[in-house]
Amino acid sequence: MALLQIAEPGQSSAPHEHRLAVGIDLGTTNSLVATVRNGVATVLPDEQGRPLLPSIVRYGPDGRIEVGYAAQAQQSNDPRNTIISVKRFMGRSVKDVAHVENAPYDFVDAPGMLQLRTAQGVKSPVEVSSEILKVLRRRAELALGGDLVGAVVTVPAYFDEGQRQATKDAARLAGLNILRLLNEPTAAAIAYGLDNAAEGIYAVFDLGGGTFDISILKLSRGVFEVVATNGDSLLGGDDFDHRVFCWALGEAKLPPLQPRDVRLLYAKAREAKETLTYHGEAPITARLSGGEFVDLKLTTEAFCSMTQTLVNKTIGPTRRALRDAGLTVEGIKGVVMVGGATRMPQVQRAVGEFFRCDPLNNLDPDKVVALGAAMQANVLAGNRAQGEDWLLLDVIPLSLGMETMGGLVERIIPRNSTIPAARAQEFTTFKDGQGAMSFHVVQGERELVCDCRSLARFELRGIPPMAAGAARVRVTFQVDADGLLAVTAREKSTGVETSVTVKPSYGLSDAEIERMLRDSVEHAREDMHARALQENRVEGERLADAVRAALASDAELLSAEERSGIGRLLEELRATLAGSDHRAIKRASEALNRATEDFAARRMDAGVRRALAGQKIANLGG
């Protein structure tokens, strides 16, 4: 008969209706699947009792697809068809990928996302990831004895919408119903926050195989709020391996290596790194295909000094996250360590010194994200007793906004807003009788559209003819719990509506996000000037248009002298508009404005006279 699990009070499921849900940590180096069984989150191991599944997929020439340890075993024999760290390629193009020259793959630079040519044809990173997810899904279904209702899959906090979409696509391809995408540090906080029931502001320091994330989280009364995030998507344990690999190349004075030897030496470098966590020195020995024998000894001192810059690279983003959260080190109650790379003693030390406290590491740093995801999946699948649900807040990594006249960005949802979020703002028409408006959705921190990332463009048509500024177009930005954006524009008087769901073109790298954030600080003054210039230009052009239109229709209200005076000021304004001195534009606009005040008053009088002509006084009383 079936094997039963203990449920929460009152939550026993009807037969054949178990709501089996899992949490999946789809990692750069290793992936895990976990579930809540008998009230406890546990990682589900494979038949051999191994909890981790190496995130490695091999497309063999014989048509077989191997995943995990089996693929890892073939890594040095068949590097071209054995895909490691595929997460680095999710939603990326070739130019986004670091160390591309050392990756032994046959890249195909497809538009949007790169692809890999293997013995079984061209594969996209989405397909490769789905192979990993399929294995985890099968493992979970065997272990739980039934079909899954869904899964929570974790992604780095810094994944942009393209990368999130790619992850969702991979899950769908693997036959998994995604309950939610969850930021990895948030998942870790769930695992720690619930198990330890600790309140306060915490930092989650996540140094995984390929990504570094730092998140500032507020935990109180069971509510998690991510106050700020930062990180470096191109920094992780792989980079430490790379340093050791380069060191070994230099020490052993090796000639350029064949792909399989590159793999072999990488594996040896990783082993040495792991050994140094517990020992003072580690051997690196390997026999290469050309017959060369590598026999080196790596000491802790040498390892620390060659990776010092990598450790230091974690501190900058950490400082920025604190600043975004408006906190100092003293405001942080504790630091949660996540990711296998945080086992390295020099990383523990650096984090401890920066935060001036001992980092929390009592949960296995490799498993903590999967465990938290499993707890979240359990809640989302409806397996928790009432009243024990908890709210989960995540944040938007970069501001979302609209392009307005003159290429300026109007920020609708600011960065670090909690999601799900919905904000609306009204826009109006710029010209008389304007029948359509085009919208341009952008993401970024800069003031000018050209410095931000373009997410989508769409048009609202069918606006009835109205004077400039009379139309009321309400634009709503809605970000769902997965961080995906939907934008709706609606003209209020007619109800015409149009909307777009942003499945952004794959391709903004996290390094770009990092750069965009840095730029926004460094270019703050320039941006302010650019914004002032654009604003004055738009205003100046609007004024010039209005004066020109007035002259065309009511020139007879002016004397010849007045006409030439206004004409001269108009000409001056036009000249300043071509330049880039925003103060000059403002002065010229103001001069023209003053000179036409009287003209405007006369036009209004004339307009009133025209309207009143033929009306009887009696008609005006009511």
């Binding site: 094997l3 929460e8 939550q11 406890v40």
Partner: protein
Amino acid sequence: MAVTLTEKAANHVQGFLAKRGKGVALRVGVRTSGCSGMAYKLEFADSVTPEDLQFESHGVKVVVDPRSLPYVDGTELDYTREGLNEGFRFNNPNVKDACGCGESFNV
């Protein structure tokens, strides 16, 4: 009149209760549902009601509501592993027939 746990099952229940951080007993019962009439209830108990029948097995308190007892009396709960799957198995002498998977049964 009793519902018992094997030592292995008791150890697992104790472990789960400890990790869960609260709960005073294991609640065993039945309800009418499923393809063969009855289904087991296996839950953590945060409280014990006055009419609950209480049993003790290898240090674990088991509570059963009186209406359920006739259907599960004499049951021994074991904890077993089948391939990757693991969980509690009901060895219930009252069962006459069960559906294919054994999740629901008839007495």
